[in-house]
């Protein structure tokens, strides 16, 4: 526990020195909602095409999912900084297990994701008039926590396995495109061509966003959500196990 607290302290100290990171972590997803969401609502805002809700309401969960995805990717990229500074290897000799090392970083990321989500949801409700389901907030918080965890462990594996920063950036850019556009982030899956729909349904980001959408505005079918949530938890646990394995091989 002391090691995780120390990691939390370290991460917050470092992140506080970087204004760019703060912008990306806290404000970028919100700007997406305000610019992209508002624009698309104005252009194609028929509630019929987005499962009976306006586009801003529909897109809110997409923005929260995008945020956890981006926070995880930014945080995993910091492994390269730590490697370049040599501190990565020194830290592996500190009195903490590999699991504590990763969980300490994760707790910090979850903190960032929760603050970011509160900011986005608050602005969404106050400025865009999104009607929230406060009775389902437990599901929303669970979605933010397991979503951030799953993607953080996933990107950690890539950062540890890929030794070059430039290759990591290329791979994550490609993954960004695949995961974000083949998911329920921007549009409902029902009207999509069959193949695209199947791919999107197999995408863990879809599972996370569906849970976030249910937790924020109550949209979704509880039975399907249960399966998707179980799938995402399994994905997160598998990524955690593999990330620890990768850390042991460093």
């Amino acid at each position: 526990m002391a090691a995780m607290t120390a990691m939390l302290y370290r991460e917050s100290k470092i992140r506080a020195t970087n204004v760019t990171f703060m912008f990306w972590d806290f404000l970028y997803p919100l700007f997406n909602l305000l610019v992209f969401g508002v624009g698309l609502t104005a252009a194609f805002g028929s509630p019929h095409s987005t499962e009976g809700v306006d586009y801003n309401s529909f897109f809110l969960a997409g923005v929260l999912g995008m945020a956890s995805f981006a926070i995880a990717s930014n945080s995993a990229w910091s492994f390269f900084l730590d490697r370049d500074n040599g501190i990565f290897y020194e830290m592996l000799t500190y009195p903490m297990s590999r699991a504590e090392y990763l969980l300490g970083k994760l707790v910090f990321n979850i903190g960032i994701a929760v603050v970011q989500a509160a900011l986005t949801i608050g602005v969404g409700a106050a400025v865009l008039g999104i009607s929230l389901r406060f009775d389902l907030f437990g599901a929303l918080v669970a979605g933010i926590v397991i979503g951030t965890a799953g993607w953080f462990f996933f990107y950690t594996i890539l950062a540890l396995k890929i030794r070059r920063n430039d290759v990591f950036n290329s791979v994550t850019s490609a993954l960004y495109f695949v995961f974000l556009f083949f998911s329920s982030m921007f549009y409902p899956l029902t009207p999509l061509p069959k193949l695209l729909r199947w791919v999107a349904m197999a995408n863990p980001l879809t599972w996370e966003i569906d849970l976030l959408r249910y937790g924020s505005i109550g949209l979704g079918h509880p039975r399907q959500l249960l399966i998707e949530t179980a799938g995402f938890v399994a994905f997160a646990i598998a990524c955690f196990a593999f990330a620890i394995h990768s850390l042991h091989q460093e």
Partner: protein
Amino acid sequence: MPDFALEVQDLGKTYRATRGRLGRDTGVIRAIDHLSFAVPRGAIFGLLGPNGAGKTTLLKILSTLLRPTSGRVSIEGIDALAKPLDVRRRIATVIQETAVEMFLSVRDNLLTFARFHGIDSDEARRRAGRVIELFGLGGELERKVQDLSGGFRRRVQVAKAFMVNTPVLFLDEFSTGMDPILKRSVMESLREENSRGRTIVLTTQILSEAEELCDDILILNKGRQVARGNMNDLKLLSQGMYELVLTFDVLPARIEAEIAALNPIRSHVSGNTIELSVKTEDAGAIELVGRLAKLGRVLHVEIRGASLEDIFVELTSNG
């Protein structure tokens, strides 16, 4: 309580060697080869060897950064392979590469390190005061480490190891980038830490450092032990090995050919002075001086026993 701070039994570490863009397998590199030794508690133990001898690999294994291919390692009586976390609670490590938190201030580097070792913030601040003074970091406290020179970064890195009281301290070429005054002060502090019972294991390429600090030395070459003991033990290995220093009024023309004919372990010519290490019998050393003195007028002569450097060169150059 175990008598030994470190015990290494039949340790081996091999790597697959690859070549080319496709990573063609070209065989096995044996970085550590059936190495066994034990280090008593409270020793200053030096690991010496040429580049690629396996010193850093060995230190990585001892500090739980790397798993060996075979053999056993225990630190303070704890099996490092079975219980690496328990070992990490008893060690502090200064790795060979500079390892600092670039975006944090010097003070935060020290305090963060202490936190990871479970030291509460009041105690950490107290210790930081002592360490800051010891390492002359007072003027740089609030500066981010990324804004400091390479020498200062290394200073911060080594300073961190003095923030904790772990029973074992590993130092991989700790003095890299340090000026002579700081190096002397750090060496003095290492002796102080050692006098409080802390076991110090260090690797170095600077043999005078090892000669001055270490009471027990292991010389490695190609992953194997080639010699082990204190300075006196090692000097016994150098029987018949001498350092000759001759200063001529004018350097003789044929001197280089003459030196080469003596087949020295090493030689150096600077101005009118020649320094060479040779292996010969007692009487032979005097005979050699006489032979060289015939080449010109000699102003100054010295015959010394072998230094650690001579022993090192002799032992590691024989492969």
